[in-house]
Amino acid sequence: MTPLLEMRDVHVTYATAAGPLPAVRGVNLSLEPGESLGVAGESGCGKSSLAATVLRLQPPNATVRGSVLVTGKDVQTVDWGQLRALRWGEAAMVFQGSLHSLNPVQRVGDQITEPIRLHDGSVSPARASERVGQLLEQVGLPAASARTYPHQLSGGQRQRVMIAMALACRPRLILADEPTTALDVMVQAQVLDVLTGLVRGLELGLLLISHDLSVLGTTCDRVLVMYGGRVVEQGAATAVFDHPQHPYTRALARAFPRVGDADARFSPAGLAGDPPDPRNLPSGCTFHPRCPRAIDVCSTHEPPVRWPEPDRPVECVRVEGAETAPGTAVAAGR
C-alpha cells in the first residue's frame, strides 16, 4: 500500500544574497492513513521548509532535491493541473496565524465555501452551504457560525475555522504548522482534541509541526526531531518523549517539565548557545557546540545512525545501539 506521504532524501536549499542556505539536509519520512506524525524542532531547524515542500509552497528561491510523494505522486514534478487538484483534494494546510490567514471582511462560511467551489465547479450553493455546516460541526463549532466574521470569533474558534477550511475538499492529509502556538493551554487542548478526533474518525494523515515536544508527545503516534536541517531522532511519540536518546531531544523534553517532576524543581534545564545558523553550520555533528555529551570525534565526523531499539534511529555517536537497521526497518529510517 502506498503511504499518504513519503519523503526520500529531501533537501531544501535557499539561494540568498549571502550564498546558499541549506534549510533541510536529507530527510526521509512516511505517513500512513490514520497516523499522525509530529515534527519537532526550534526556529531555523528546517521544519517549516520541509512542510512547505509537501504542497510545493516553497518560495521561488528554494531548490528542492529528493522526492516528495503524496499518495504516490511526486509533488515537485507534477503539472499545474494535478498540483491544484492535489493542494486541496489530497493534502491541505492549517497555518499558524489564523487571524492573518482569514479575510477579515468575508463571512467565515463564504471563506470555507471558496475551496469547495474552486475544486468542484458543479457544486450547487445549497450543497456547498450544507457542507460548510457539516464541516463546522466536525470541528466543534455550531453550523450557524458560518454567518459570522472572523473578528467575532476567539482565537481558538478561528483556528478551528482554519481546520474546517482545510477539510473542505475531503483531503486525506492535513499539514498543521504550529496550529496552537498563539493559543492558551485550554484552547490549545481543545484544538488538539479536534485534530486527533479527525485523524481517528476520518482516517486522515496528520503532519503536525511544533516547537513543543510535549504537544507532539500527546497528540502524535510518531515524532521526528529535527536539528540543523536533519532528523536527529525519531520513533514512537511516547518513547521519544519519555525516553529521549539524542542529547538534543533530552534537552527539548526537559525544557517543558512535568509538573511534579522533582528533578525539574528549581532547576530549569536548557542548552547553552543558540540554534545553528544554517548558512554557517558547525562541522561534524551540527549539535556538537551545544552538546553536553560531545567528544572529540563529534566535531570532525558526521554522526552515525544508531538504533538503540527497532524503529528508533538516532543520529548520535554517544548513543548505544545497533549500527544497522535491525530487521525490517520501517520506511522512515535511513
Binding site: G156, S214, A255, F256, V259, R265, L271, A272, D274, P275
Partner: protein, 343 residues
C-alpha cells in the same frame, strides 16, 4: 516559621483589594482586575498563572504603575504607590519589567550599550555615585549588568544592534537593562514564551540565579504551569480578574483545590497522565462577569453535579465569593472548599 508568617512578615510588594476597570467602546466596563490581594515576599519567586483575559498582564502593569488602579492600592514596602511623576520614577528604579517579546522590547536603532545604559542615564546613577565619592564609570556598570545577565565578554556586545543577536541574547539584554538599575523586584511578563525551547531553560535559570545571588524578588506572569513548577516558590492562579487559588507551588500544583486549577493542570500536554478535563466555552470576557462564582458556567464540578451533591450549587450560582486574603496559606476561592456559614 511557617510559610504563612514568613510571607506576612517580609511582604515587599503587595496589593489590597486591587481593581482595574477599562471603559470599552460599547460602554460596558471591563473589570480586568476585580479585587486582588497579593503579597510578594522579599526574595521570593511568585508565579501569576492564568489564561489570556484573566487579567494577569493588567495586574502586572498596575504593579509597575503603568495602569492606575480604579479601586484598592498597590503597596511597596508597606507604603502606597505614589502616582506623581517623581514618585513613580523613584519607584521604577526599584521595580523593573522584563517583557515577553525581546525583539519588540529593544529599540532597533539603539546599540546594546545604549539600551542597557538607558536606565543609568535616566536616573543619573553614575553622577550620583560619583558625587558620593565612588569611582565609577558608566562603562563598568554596563559591563557588570551584561555579564550578570550572562552576556560575556560584555565589551563584545556593546556595539551590536538587536537584530544582530539571537532571541535568547536579546532577552538577556532586556534583563541586563533592568539589572543595571539594581532593582529589588523584577516583574517578568511571559519571559520565555517567545523563545526557542532550548533557550527557555537558560533564561529561567538566569532568573533563579539572580534571586540567589542578588536577592532579587521575581513575579513571573505566565500561562505555563511547567514554568511555575520550574522556578516559582508560590503560585497564584487568576481567573477573570480574581485570584482563585494561591499557595506554595507544591500545594497548588500537586494538590490543587480549585476546579479551574485542576482543569488547567490536566491539559498541560504530558504523556501518560490523567484524562484531560477540557473546559467547554471560550476565553472568559471581563465585560460580562457571571454572578455568583465567576467560574461556575464552565466549572466541571458544578456541571458534573459535585456542587449539587455538596449542597453548594445555589451558592455557586448566586453568592459572590470573598476576595482571597493574602495570608500565605493554601487557599482556593471555591464554595466547595470554603466553610459556608449557613444563614
Amino acid at each position: 516559621m511557617t510559610p504563612a508568617t514568613k510571607a506576612r512578615r517580609t511582604a515587599l510588594l503587595s496589593t489590597r483589594g486591587l481593581g482595574v476597570t477599562f471603559a470599552s467602546r460599547d460602554g460596558a466596563a471591563a473589570r480586568a482586575v476585580d479585587g486582588v490581594d497579593l503579597d510578594v515576599g522579599s526574595g521570593e519567586v511568585v508565579a501569576l498563572v492564568g489564561e489570556s483575559g484573566s487579567g494577569k498582564t493588567t495586574l502586572a502593569r498596575t504593579l509597575l504603575g503603568l495602569e492606575r488602579p480604579s479601586t484598592g492600592s498597590v503597596e511597596f514596602e508597606g507604603a502606597s504607590l505614589q502616582t506623581s511623576t517623581r514618585g513613580l520614577r523613584a519607584y521604577r528604579r526599584r521595580v523593573q519589567l522584563v517583557l515577553q517579546d525581546p525583539t519588540g522590547a529593544l529599540n532597533p536603532r539603539q546599540t546594546v550599550y545604549e539600551s542597557v545604559a538607558e536606565g543609568l542615564r535616566i536616573h543619573k546613577l553614575v553622577e550620583q555615585a560619583q558625587r558620593a565619592g565612588e569611582r565609577v564609570v558608566e562603562t563598568d556598570l554596563v559591563s557588570q549588568a551584561l555579564s550578570r545577565a550572562g552576556l560575556r565578554p560584555p565589551g563584545g556586545f556593546f556595539l551590536t544592534y538587536p537584530h544582530e543577536l539571537s532571541g535568547g541574547q536579546r532577552q538577556r539584554v532586556v534583563i541586563a537593562g533592568a539589572l543595571a538599575l539594581e532593582p529589588e523586584v523584577i516583574i517578568a511578563d511571559e519571559p520565555v514564551s517567545s523563545l526557542d525551547a532550548s533557550i527557555r531553560g537558560e533564561i529561567l535559570a538566569l532568573l533563579l540565579r539572580l534571586r540567589d545571588d542578588l536577592g532579587l524578588t521575581v513575579l513571573v506572569v505566565t500561562h505555563d504551569l511547567g514554568l511555575a513548577w520550574n522556578i516559582a516558590d508560590r503560585v497564584a492562579v487568576m481567573y477573570l480578574g480574581r485570584i482563585v487559588e494561591v499557595g506554595t507551588t507544591e500545594e497548588v500544583l500537586l494538590t490543587p483545590r480549585h476546579p479551574y486549577t485542576r482543569a488547567l493542570l490536566s491539559v498541560v500536554p504530558e504523556v501518560s497522565q490523567q484524562e484531560p478535563i477540557v473546559l467547554v466555552g471560550e476565553t472568559p470576557d471581563p465585560r460580562r462577569i457571571p454572578a455568583g462564582c465567576r467560574f461556575h458556567p464552565r466549572c466541571p464540578a458544578y456541571a458534573g453535579g459535585e456542587a449539587e451533591a455538596a449542597g453548594v450549587a445555589e451558592d455557586c450560582r448566586t453568592r459572590d465569593l470573598p476576595v482571597l486574603a493574602a495570608t500565605g496559606d493554601h487557599r482556593a476561592a471555591c464554595w466547595l472548599t470554603m466553610p459556608t456559614p449557613k444563614p
